[in-house]
Symmetry: C4
Subunit: 207 residues, 4 copies
């Protein structure tokens, strides 16, 4: 029902951004629902509560990891949409596909929190984030490809840098699936290493 021949402007862009922010905000806040208070018989609480709370560590880790990943997604989404002044139906569809992945993250996070020592959970988690990140790269590629969607021309070197980054990160996620067949914990460490290196690269490039 969008009128695609006329590019939309102003408050239209704002509404797509608002909906996206709503999905981001809810997805990161729902993550906590997966950390459940353990059930312990009344007379054993004092002795068992500390151990039970410690044994939830895979869920804290999953919360922490998914919170970071969705935050990074938001930051990238934010910088992609900043120069966008108009959008068409394709961009709308890509954005909905991307949001479908973002809203799905609580499920692989819960899987990782419960069966984090199994290869399949790690693979499902990595695959979800790889696809999500690829969709974000597709949104970036689509929006910068067409000057009409942008407020101002983008620096080509910066656009190229972000497209390379936008392909490298999902590639590493997919690589971690291969790693997970040999060592599940090595695969998980790959993610944290990737997040740290990525932050460092960004920091280096812009200061």
């Amino acid at each position: 029902m969008l009128r695609p021949r006329e590019r939309e402007t102003g408050r239209d862009r704002d509404r797509i951004v608002n909906l996206s922010d709503g999905v981001f905000a809810i997805a990161i806040t729902l993550l906590v629902l997966d950390i459940r208070v353990p059930n312990i018989p009344e007379d054993l609480v004092s002795t068992e509560l500390p151990g039970e709370l410690l044994s939830l560590w895979p869920r804290y880790l999953g919360y922490f990891l998914s919170f970071i990943c969705i935050s990074v997604f938001w930051t990238i989404h934010h910088s992609i949409f900043r120069p966008i002044r108009a959008y068409d139906r394709n961009l709308l569809y890509l954005n909905f596909l991307f949001l479908m992945l973002v809203a799905f993250v609580p499920f692989p996070t819960a899987l990782l929190g419960k069966y984090g020592d199994h290869q399949l959970s790690v693979a499902v988690y990595a695959a979800t984030l790889a696809v999500g990140r690829l969709l974000l790269t597709a949104i970036q590629w689509y929006s910068t490809r067409d000057e009409r969607l942008l407020d101002e021309p983008q620096d080509p070197a910066t656009v190229r840098f972000f497209l390379i980054r936008g392909v490298a990160i999902p590639a590493i996620f997919l690589l971690s699936i291969a790693i997970s067949f040999f060592s599940v914990s090595a695969a998980i460490w790959t993610w944290f290493a990737m997040i740290a290196v990525d932050a460092l690269v960004i920091h280096r490039r812009f200061s």
Copy 2:
């Protein structure tokens, strides 16, 4: 408590749109809560987790389907409200009724995910979306009927096209209920076919 004799403007319209976007964002994000991590005894996880995750496919399908349907609802809602510059109490009531249906979607989705091979689940799902879509058509009909609610006059041919579409889609949903008495899966395929044909028609008309 609205002052109906004076049509509201500007930020009033924004607030009704913001509330609606909030409901949309939450409804699509809550859908994932229905995909629950299976409970498997520790020693059987390696062998049973793949099968258990695969057996959740009706829930992934429900997630996918409802995500698309609510996204399409949002897109239509978005294009209805774009030219609206004012609203009155009737529009507010219609919008709340519509949001009541949108916020309800997670329930028939869960029903479909659990008992998707039963006729009743399919009928409840189709009926919910038919009523939701009809309310959206009612909002469109009401807002375009009265020039005073709009920023600028609408093209009558486009308005007619969208009203016809807005009646055809719920009619197909209701038809799928009839189909479901003969074949449950045929009814579900009807929905996907309808979504595809609808996207195609929209694409054809505007390019």
Copy 3:
């Protein structure tokens, strides 16, 4: 940390309204989580699903009723905040207290959905909504009492009308608690009658 001597303006007002809208949107969308798909053994689904879905009617009713009540609260909140251009700490505190009640509504709704034929559930529900409505009246009273918080002076007759309405509705909710000692269903009917009469009075007054 607000600077109370300087009245806040513009985007400050917007942020308090945005937070409130977020709470409204989430509260009405969470209501659906209380309608749970029944657990039925696989071989009995065909025969028992219709009956089980019908037996959920108190939950549908609770969903419907709370959705209406929160929608009415939103409409009133909306019209109270429309002329507000500034706020001080007292208004902020009153608004948070009110939101605490709005966010609480899913609990009495769940209680009503499960034990709706018991006097206590009806009393808890009525008391929650009476207190919420009174807080809304307090917000209105506070904001219209002080011209400095408003964009433009309000019509005194209209202000008086809304204050009377804002005291009459919680009074009827409290009265329904007394009624519930004699008949639980009469108390519930009182609410629906009140909602209908209220809508009629508003309609009469403004047309």
Copy 4:
């Protein structure tokens, strides 16, 4: 992907504030999910429901306490971000860390609601809120340290007052952990006393 050399302005600031408001709104609204309707056999409801509802008092208390704490966090966040006209990557990271704590609050609240008479629950709750409050203080310190992030210069005495407050409150939360080893309920009372004294100090200072 932010361009750190150019400070961001206008709608960028708005988007970070909107995301934060979304997380605040969802976190306070999810708190109610922890107050669950008790399961009572049908024939015992009349006699047992009152007692069961009363026995939920630690959960009502947790709801009330966490609602207040998150509201106070919002109020402070709100006044920190009001004069901010730009932000850089550090501020973004600090804000995400802070939101991670805000979104986490429902877990220690549930712990307190279930095992509120145990020292560990009280310590986990106090630690979560102390860390959250310290992150908020870090955001304030960072944003006022650098004039370039602000719309207008801040009064140094007021900045100092809020930094002292921003260190004193988490210190009291940490102190309450020490108190909890001697008396769990004394620790909980410390929080309420702190909230009341804090509100009083703020009121005194600004009137």
